[in-house]
Subunit: 203 residues, 2 copies
DNA sequence: TCCTTAAGAGTACAAGGTACGCCTACGGCC
DNA sequence: GGCCGTAGGCGTACCTTGTACTCTTAAGGA
């Protein structure tokens, strides 16, 4: 056994998250991460094969931070808890949303999340293609929410612009955008998820 | 009035789409689009302020191609038709999915889509925050689907990998991934949307 | 003590976005 | 019919970013 590695994956991830949290996703460059670690730029390549691999490490870390130990309750409640934990875990580092969207399938720990979701759905009596659809619909809902929240939050500038549109041309839009500005992200997520769960239950 | 412009927005968009359809999204560079048009690279900057503006033009064009004239029927059916048309419009140029996700709010013609969706929801008796949630849930569902379809299609390589996982470690995942491989995208979309619509109706 | 492998540092290059400048060619107006 | 203002056409140049390559040094175990 020769010289041991001097950087752990966790250190790499911590540096990347520090950069993103401080300066935003566009600032996440190999040079910036290396500087954050006090290492030469090319030194990173001894730990990751390329920039994408670094991004996957970050996403994997976020997923791994989700506690999979669910409380007792109906399967609907358990789904609610699980998905909300994922939402909160991602929200801790808002800048990584695009990375999560892109790399979720490449992050090994996403398997644990999917397996857990499936086990709760199975509890709920779902199986076969029905279970596939339920799983994908829930995941899709979560991804869509993260997407919307990141690029077009209800309480964000986009909605404000909408609410100021001419009422004669976009009557419903202007009015609805005003209604929307008072809805905080967690309420939007909870109520939207309720819609999906109701649909799954009614099926 | 001096010399008229020699390129229209539609020509710009057509060139960009040609590049993306032929060589994929990463090939969408200012140089490539300029070459496609037989124009010097810097010539593009007389028509768009920067690369993002070009991307927004593309997204806007895709949205504008959606026919908003909906057939008679229940409001649920009308929503189904509308969202499916958007899905199909995007699917005609699979490479632009990430652009749609990023720029949907910046594309002026997205306003028409939202206004139309809202009018159908209003028909269905929804208003106020309930209508906000319904609208966001439907859009979120669509975005989530596009996202999943693009980066992790049920019939794609990711699912195949999942289906080959060790059953003792991921019993449900492996089994479900095998169930999933037979579900085509349009069926996945339709059945997922049915779940959401059922939830909205039951609410 | 030596060998194996990682570390550290620097150089170099290609790709891509975009600022800038020069000269040309239209088309309406005097 | 000549003039002027604006858009066109084209090329150059610079910065940022990812990444390949090389050379020398250091740290543990055999």
């Amino acid at each position: 056994m020769p010289r041991p590695r001097s950087l752990t994956d966790d250190q790499l991830v911590a540096a990347a998250l520090a950069v993103v949290d401080r300066d935003g996703l566009p600032a996440l460059t190999m040079r910036a991460v290396a500087r954050e670690l006090g290492v030469a730029t090319m030194g990173l390549y001894r730990y990751v094969s390329d920039r994408q691999a670094l991004e996957v490490l970050v996403v994997d870390h976020v997923f791994r931070s989700v506690d999979l130990d669910l409380p007792e309750g109906t399967w609907q409640d358990r789904i609610r808890v699980l998905l909300d934990r994922i939402r909160v875990a991602v929200a801790r580092h808002p800048g990584v949303v695009p990375l999560v969207l892109r790399h979720r399938q490449a992050a090994p720990s996403s398997l644990r999340l999917i397996e857990t979701t499936l086990s709760v759905l199975t509890e709920g009596g779902l199986s076969g293609v029905e279970r596939v659809i339920a799983q994908r619909t829930l995941i899709g809902h979560l991804l869509g929410f993260l997407q919307s929240e990141h690029f077009a939050a209800l309480s964000g500038p986009g909605t404000i612009v909408l609410s100021e549109l001419p009422e004669d041309e976009y009557p419903l839009l202007a009015r609805t955008a005003r209604d929307a500005r008072s809805v905080p992200p967690d309420e939007e997520f909870r109520r939207g998820l309720d819609v999906v769960l109701r649909g799954l239950t009614a099926g």
